[in-house]
Every structure is written in structure tokens, then in C-alpha cells.
């Protein structure tokens, strides 16, 4: 096994998985004649269109001695600007994802809105190009071999966190949601827009709500996709994960072919978890990219986390029954494949992520809430992770006022997917308690972030254009968008054939 120094942040990464935007993008608008910032053409991965990038210097804190931070942003120019004084402001998820790097995703989700409006993407302080607070992370080989069930995991995590803190060497209290909201407003002023249509996904909905609270005059409409209510700690996510997984089990059971191919899936899953809890399995797998034989310690946390991440997209959901069944039969290749595919932590600024959760989610955990959230495996794991990380990072807790549900009369569109493993529809209902003009749409089969699923992009564009949900036909949001299960290693199973031919 490797020395402890190589295990930095493993626990944090596996356990505190964020509300991710699986597909997000950022774009930058057009050059503004009276605009004091210099915009230069730039390009982002997966998007051939030319964006305009720029940055502004913002005070790091109220104390001038703390210096400044460069806030970078990009504008995806409108195709035919019909109202150059307005733009769509996209907020990325995580917390810790950089919005600018996600330009492709924002461009796709907001493609109809972009026909007439610029899309502005700002890297929230601590993410992307705005002084990204990143801790070191392990390579895949180390992650595969690492046994997180060992007894001195706590000590190791503490060491990792301290190392990360020393490396970042900055007061993380300046990187919270409420501190960041001012940067977005400064970008708006610098670019000369009169107002923004907000579009936040996942954690992005929290910063969007905070921005609305601090700068209501700058907000024209607000679209919250995968809503995180202000009054709820994200540690409540455990229930959402379990519910989303449960929906998958039920769907497989009710599908004759899936039930035949993968019988007793839920029971198998739980049996396998119990087995891993007792004793992690030491196995060997091929490295997903180098094909070299590497050791693979299958632990409950790794297995659960991999399945959990797979729940975010319908494509990966479709192989979950196969992965579970194969793993229960000691074939860990599908699991390794899933884990290679879900290599998300690198794009996530863990320093900024921890600043947000330790300031806003951790202090909120009362003993009652701890008991409640700990009833789920992921909830418990996250709270344990936070209990290690947050006391070391010493981030200033958020104000009491921060946890009040947003009171707003802005036209607001809330979007939820009924199978969302992170922000279920009930969270949106919590968030909209004090919103005067809010509409909540639920896509029955969608997962997290429905802006990239179903017909939501069209609805979002119509909503932004007419600044109200009145008379918009939202029926298409009910369309089924899930995918048939992968019945064997090659796809569809032919149940009338002997499965012998499908052996790997």
C-alpha cells in the first residue's frame, strides 16, 4: 500500500460528492462599447463558437489588506441580439465547478435563449480561472488500490486536509456563497447589462438565490434547475440518492426482461453492501486506460459512490443492474469501467467546495438533523467527512439570515427531475415557499439538471423571453426520457439464446 501522503482528499472526494452539473457550459456575450473591461476572443472545450473572455479585479474581502482576486468570465454572444441590455447569467454547480469551462453545456441548455440573448458565465471565486482552490488528488491507480475502510482513515484525512489548507494558504471564509454574489454583480456592472436572467443548476441555484437576495434589482427572471433550498443542508442528499436508486430497482423489477436477467436486484445490492461492510474485497482489474493489471480494493464507499454517480445520467443508469449483478458475482470490471468514467473530482475545486459546505451546510447540522440524515449511508458518510474537514479549515459559519428561504417576487421557474439523486422535487417545493411568482415543473423520469434533458431548453427560452410562465405549454416535460437497461455486456439480451456466447 502507498504512503499516507498519497491519500490526500480521497475521503473528502468520495464522500462529499457535490451537486454536480453533469453538463454545464459558459458563454460570453458581445463587446460593449462603453465597457471598461477588455474582452478578448477565447474558446472553450467542445464549443467551436468564439466567446469573449475577460476579468475584473475584485476585493477579496472588506479588508483592503487582503488584496484582490481576479474574477474571470466569458460571454457567449447572442446570435441575433434583440435586447443587448439583458443577458442570461449561468451559475455552475458543485460547489466547485467553474462555469466558463462548462461553456458547451450552458450553450446547449440555453441554445434557444441564446438566439436573442448573450450568455454570461462567471467563474465563481475559488473555481475555474478565478483563483481555483484545488487540493491535490490521487490518480486512478491509487484510488483503485486504496482501502478506505482502514482504521486510521480519520488521521489520514486530517493530514490531507491540513496539507491542503497549507497549500491553499488563504482564509476560506472569503469564498462562501454570500461573498461570491458580489462578484457576479460587479461583472454585470462591468459588462453594462441592465439585468440578468439567472440560470442556475444544482449548487448554482443556491448562488442564484443568494444573488437574487443581495441584488434583486439586477434580476429579471430566475430559472432554478435542480433546486437547493436555502434552508436545507445538502447532507439531506442521502435520502435523494436512496430514492433515486429505489426508483431504478423498481423499474427493473417491473420490466419483465430486466427482472429475468437481473432478478432480486435490490436484495443482491444490499447483500453485497453488507458483504463489503464486513470485509473489503481485494481484487485485480485491468486499468481502464492502460490495460495493466492493477489491484482494486472494493470497499462499500467506493461501490456506493460509483453507483451513486451513475444515477446522475440515464446512460449510466442503464448499466447499473449489470454492474451490481456482476460485482456480486465477483466480476469487478464493469465497476472499474464505471469508476473510470466518473472521474469528476478533478474538475471540482475542492478548496472552494469545502469553504462553501463548511460555512453553509456543516454549522447547520443540529443533533436532530444529524440523526435524521445519518439514517442513510451517504448522509452519514458525508457528515463524518465534514466533521473531519471543517474543524481544520475553520471557515466562518454563514449568518442565520442565509438560511431563510428566499423571498422574491421575480418570475421564477423551478425545474426538478423525479429521479434526481441529488435535488429531488421536494427540495424545490421547500425553496419556493416565499416566492410570489414561482412555477415548479417536474419531469417524471428525468434525473439531475433537467435543462439538458427533455424539452426544458425550449421552455426555459420561452420563459426568459416573455418573463412569465403564462400560456407556455409545458406538457412535453412529462415525456419519458429514460433508457432501456443494458441487459448483457453487449447491450440488449436475447433471452432466447443461451447466455454462454456472452461470456467475456
Amino acid at each position: 500500500m502507498k504512503s499516507t501522503s498519497e491519500y490526500r482528499n480521497r475521503l473528502i472526494k468520495l464522500a462529499i460528492l457535490p451537486f454536480l452539473i453533469v453538463n454545464s457550459a459558459i458563454s460570453q456575450g458581445q463587446e460593449n462599447d462603453n465597457n471598461p473591461v477588455e474582452l478578448t476572443p477565447c474558446y472553450m472545450e467542445g464549443l467551436s463558437d468564439r466567446l469573449m473572455c475577460g476579468s475584473i479585479a475584485q476585493p477579496l474581502s472588506d479588508n483592503p489588506a487582503d488584496g484582490e482576486i481576479d474574477i474571470h468570465f466569458a460571454v457567449i454572444p447572442a446570435i441575433k441580439p434583440s435586447n443587448p441590455e439583458e443577458a442570461v447569467l449561468g451559475f455552475a454547480g458543485g460547489p466547485g465547478q467553474g462555469a466558463v469551462d462548462l461553456a458547451q453545456v450552458f450553450n446547449r441548455n440555453l441554445r434557444f435563449a441564446r438566439e436573442t440573448l448573450d450568455i454570461v458565465l462567471v467563474d465563481q471565486r475559488g473555481t475555474g480561472y478565478s483563483k481555483q482552490l484545488q487540493c491535490d488528488s490521487d490518480d486512478l491507480k491509487t484510488q483503485f488500490a486504496f482501502n478506505d475502510a482502514i482504521t486510521d482513515l480519520q488521521t489520514m484525512s486530517k493530514q490531507d486536509t491540513e496539507q491542503c489548507k497549507a497549500k491553499l494558504n488563504v482564509d476560506l471564509s472569503h469564498f462562501t456563497t454570500s461573498a461570491a454574489a458580489k462578484d457576479f454583480e460587479a461583472v454585470r456592472v462591468a459588462l453594462g447589462y441592465k439585468g440578468f436572467h439567472l440560470y442556475g443548476v444544482s449548487y448554482g441555484t443556491r448562488i442564484a438565490q443568494e444573488y437574487t437576495r443581495q441584488f434583486p434589482a439586477s434580476v429579471i427572471t430566475s430559472t432554478l434547475d435542480g433546486v437547493v433550498p436555502m434552508q436545507q443542508s445538502f447532507a439531506a442528499i442521502g435520502e435523494a440518492i436512496d430514492a433515486s436508486l429505489q426508483a431504478l430497482f423498481e423499474r427493473c423489477e417491473s420490466d419483465a426482461a430486466c427482472n429475468e436477467q437481473f432478478p432480486r436486484l435490490e436484495i443482491r445490492f444490499n447483500e453485497f453492501l453488507a458483504r463489503l461492510e464486513q470485509q473489503p474485497i481485494e481484487a485485480q482489474v485491468r486499468h481502464p486506460r492502460t490495460h495493466e493489471m492493477i489491484p482494486f480494493t472494493v470497499t462499500k464507499m467506493k461501490f456506493y459512490s460509483a453507483i451513486r454517480l451513475a444515477l446522475y445520467s440515464h446512460t449510466t443508469r442503464s448499466i447499473v443492474p449489470l454492474v451490481i449483478t456482476k460485482a456480486a458475482q465477483d466480476d469487478f470490471s464493469p465497476l472499474a469501467g464505471l469508476m473510470a468514467n466518473a472521474d469528476l473530482t478533478q474538475s471540482l475545486a475542492m478548496g472552494m467546495h469545502n469553504a462553501v459546505v463548511c460555512s453553509e451546510d456543516w454549522p447547520q447540522l443540529t443533533p436532530q438533523l444529524r440523526t435524521k440524515y445519518s439514517s442513510t449511508y451517504m448522509g452519514k458518510t458525508m457528515i463524518e467527512g465534514l466533521d473531519i474537514v471543517c474543524p481544520i479549515l475553520e471557515v466562518k459559519p454563514a449568518d442565520k439570515a442565509f438560511y431563510k428561504p428566499l423571498k422574491s417576487d421575480k418570475p421564477t421557474l423551478l425545474l426538478s427531475g423525479a429521479r434526481d439523486p441529488a435535488t429531488p422535487p421536494s427540495w424545490a417545493e421547500l425553496a419556493m415557499t416565499n416566492m410570489a411568482d414561482a412555477t415548479h415543473l417536474v419531469a417524471p423520469t428525468a434525473t439531475h439538471g433537467i435543462g439538458s434533458q427533455t424539452c426544458a431548453p425550449k421552455i426555459i427560452a420561452q420563459f426568459i423571453e416573455q418573463k412569465s410562465m403564462q400560456d407556455i405549454d409545458t406538457y412535453c416535460i412529462k415525456d419519458k426520457n429514460d433508457k432501456p437497461f443494458f441487459m448483457n455486456i453487449n447491450g440488449v439480451a436475447n433471452t432466447h439464446l443461451t447466455p454462454a456466447t456472452n461470456k467475456e
Partner: protein
């Protein structure tokens, strides 16, 4: 001398304005061309915009429920009814051994049956092909994942395209047409006027009267050219204003670009087009005098107009840009397109071609003036 030309110019303008109908006839083009083009484009856009739902025939659909569901999620659905108006003559035939091949990891055959020469069908066929390709690569990726292999191995290259175009510059061909219609105004707006003031004046026998005055024939020609150019420029202003109003009404954004006529472009256009207007007038006057009668002049002028049109089209269709961009009209058209796209303007080409344009104007005017010294021309003998 300037005074003489001024008086003559006034006379020509007054003459022309008297016939309000023919002045208006010239301007009909300036008003009608952008509107007509916008109407055409709107119809084209409706055709191009992929309809919400595409219905096709799927044979053996029960063999490939996954594929059928995927197509349905891209709004490509199986028609239940043969008479469905949305049903396109595209048939997807799923082979009998589809399931078996798929589950054994062999390529499963799906046959797309359609007539690719049917232009209206092309985009629908592409859509079906694209949707199937997405499905195919999704299944392939999951096959690799379930074998413990990162599907990104299939992407040896991550090809990133950095498109330097802006929404204003993506119009391409359509932008070329827009500028073409604007430049052609300079020729069409004053065409009838040019013929009337030369061949027409001769037929009304007022030309000989004019020449009987102690005036140089060059003065007469220059005044005529000036008056015709003035009406050309009037046509230009009209088409620019009409363009500015109507082009934004077309939903270009659905095609991924926009056409914006800015006030800066309008001023730039007026400045650049003035020499062309002078050249066009002198050319038309010259040709009209060459003809023996009014009718003949009409035919010749129409024929001669083909030359500037061809030059302009060459730029629009981007033929031989290296040589052509130095030629008059082609160069101006190119400069206008670059201006609208927000690119740097090719100054040397523009200066040279403007110079050539002015020289041509001088040459045609001089030749016309010389012709007027010949009785053969003056009396149309």
C-alpha cells in the same frame, strides 16, 4: 464651367422628376428587392427548420425497442397511420437477426431506405442517421464500460474547432446576396432614367436643341451623368433604409447567424457606392447613345448590366477571389461584406478598384462626349 454644369444638372433633374412614374419605377426595385428577399428567406427558413416531430416507417420495430425509444426521444417517431401528414418516405428496416447480433457483440444491421436525391428529404435523412449514430456510440461506450474500459479510449484525438466567425459573419452566401441587391440598385434605380435622358432625349428631338447651345458636349454628358447618379444614390438610400427595417424581421437566428444593417454600414456603403453610381451612370449613358433608338438602348443597357451583376456574383459565390478582389464592383462588394462581418477592410484593393471605377467613369463620359460631336449619333442615323 461649374455653373454651366450646375444649370444643366438642374435641368436634367427637373426633366427626370417630371415623370414621377418612371422615377418611382426605378425605386420599386430598391423597395421591393429586400422585402422580396426577406419573404423568400422566411419561407426557406420554415422549410429548413426541422419540424418538431418526424414520422418514419420502421419495419420490424419490435426487434429493436431500444433504438425505437432512442429515436422517439429525438422526436423521430414511428407512424401508426399511413396517411399521417408528417410521415416522410423514410423507412428503417431492422434486420431479423438484429437482437442476436447485438447481444453477441456483432454489428446489428439497420437499413435506411430513402431517396437521397429528394432535396426536401435530405435533412430528415441526416437527422435519422445522426440519431442512430448517437445511439450506436452510446451502446458502444457502455459495452466498453461494462468490460472495465474507459470509453474515451475510442477518442484518440480530441478535436477542438475554434471557429473565428461571429454571428454577424456566419451569414456567408446570404450576406453576399444582401450586398448584391444593394449594389445592383445603383444600376437599376436609374436605368430608365439613363435611357430616357439620352436615347429618349434624342427621340424627342430635344438633344439637338440642347447641342445647338454654346455648350461643350462634355458638359452636357457630365450633367446627365451627375443627375442619373443622384437618382442612383437616392435608390441606394432607399434600399439601405428598407433593408435596415426588414432584415431584422427574418428569424436568421434559427440558422445561427444574424444580419444587422448598422448606421455605420449605411454611411460606409454610401461612401463606397458613390463612385460606382457615377460609373454606372456614365456607362448607361454611353451605351444608350451608342444605340440607334430608345428600344435598342433598352436592350443594350439590360445586356451591359450583366457585367456588374456578374462581377458582384463572383464575389458572392467566392469564385477566384484572389484576382477578382482587385476588380471594380467585386472589390467594393467584398469590402462591404467584410465590413458587415466586422472583419478588417481590404484597403489597397478598395482604393485601387475605386480608382479604376472613377477612371472608367471618366472614359465613358469622354467617349459619350465625343460621340455627341458626331451627327450620326445626334440624329440616330
Amino acid at each position: 464651367m461649374i455653373n454651366i454644369i450646375k444649370v444643366l444638372f438642374k435641368k436634367e433633374v427637373m426633366d427626370a422628376s417630371r415623370d414621377k412614374r418612371s422615377v418611382m419605377a426605378g425605386l420599386y426595385y430598391a423597395i421591393g428587392a429586400p422585402i422580396g428577399m426577406c419573404l423568400l428567406m422566411s419561407i426557406l427558413l420554415q422549410q429548413l427548420a426541422s419540424p418538431e416531430a418526424l414520422k418514419i416507417t420502421i419495419e420490424n420495430a419490435s426487434n429493436a425497442p431500444g433504438l425505437v425509444a432512442h429515436l422517439a426521444s429525438s422526436d423521430i417517431k414511428m407512424a401508426d397511420d399511413k396517411n399521417d401528414p408528417l410521415l416522410k418516405p423514410i423507412t428503417l428496416s431492422i434486420s431479423d437477426d438484429y437482437k442476436q447480433n447485438l447481444s453477441e457483440g456483432r454489428p446489428a444491421t439497420v437499413t435506411l431506405i430513402a431517396d437521397k436525391s429528394d432535396d426536401k428529404l435530405g435533412k430528415h435523412i441526416n437527422r435519422v442517421e445522426k440519431a442512430m449514430a448517437v445511439y450506436g456510440s452510446e451502446i458502444a461506450s457502455l459495452r466498453l464500460v461494462s468490460r472495465g474500459i474507459d470509453p474515451n479510449l475510442m477518442r484518440a484525438l480530441a478535436i477542438e474547432v475554434n471557429d473565428q466567425a461571429t454571428p454577424d459573419s456566419k451569414g456567408g452566401m446570404i450576406l453576399g446576396f444582401v450586398v448584391l441587391t444593394i449594389i445592383l440598385t445603383l444600376f437599376y434605380a436609374a436605368m430608365s432614367l439613363a435611357i430616357d435622358t439620352s436615347a429618349g432625349e434624342r427621340e424627342r428631338n430635344s438633344l439637338s436643341l440642347l447641342l445647338s447651345h454654346p455648350l461643350s458636349s462634355l458638359h452636357i454628358v457630365l450633367a446627365k451623368v451627375g443627375a442619373i447618379a443622384a437618382f442612383s444614390m437616392l435608390g441606394l438610400i432607399v434600399i439601405l433604409v428598407v433593408s435596415k427595417v426588414v432584415y431584422p424581421m427574418v428569424a436568421w437566428e434559427q440558422l445561427g447567424f444574424s444580419i444587422t444593417i448598422t448606421p455605420e454600414f449605411m454611411l460606409f456603403c454610401i461612401a463606397i457606392c458613390l463612385p460606382i453610381a457615377l460609373m454606372s451612370s456614365s456607362l448607361q449613358v454611353f451605351v444608350s447613345f451608342m444605340a440607334k433608338s430608345f428600344k435598342e438602348a433598352q436592350s443594350y443597357v439590360t445586356m451591359v448590366l450583366f457585367i456588374p451583376m456578374a462581377l458582384s456574383m463572383i464575389t458572392t459565390y467566392d469564385i477566384a477571389t484572389d484576382v477578382m478582389q482587385w476588380l471594380p464592383i467585386a472589390a467594393q462588394q467584398f469590402a462591404l461584406m467584410e465590413f458587415i462581418k466586422g472583419n478588417p477592410i481590404p484597403v489597397p484593393q478598395l482604393l485601387l478598384s475605386t480608382l479604376i471605377t472613377l477612371i472608367l467613369c471618366a472614359v465613358f463620359s469622354f467617349l459619350s462626349a465625343r460621340m455627341l460631336k458626331s451627327e450620326k449619333v445626334v440624329f440616330g442615323l
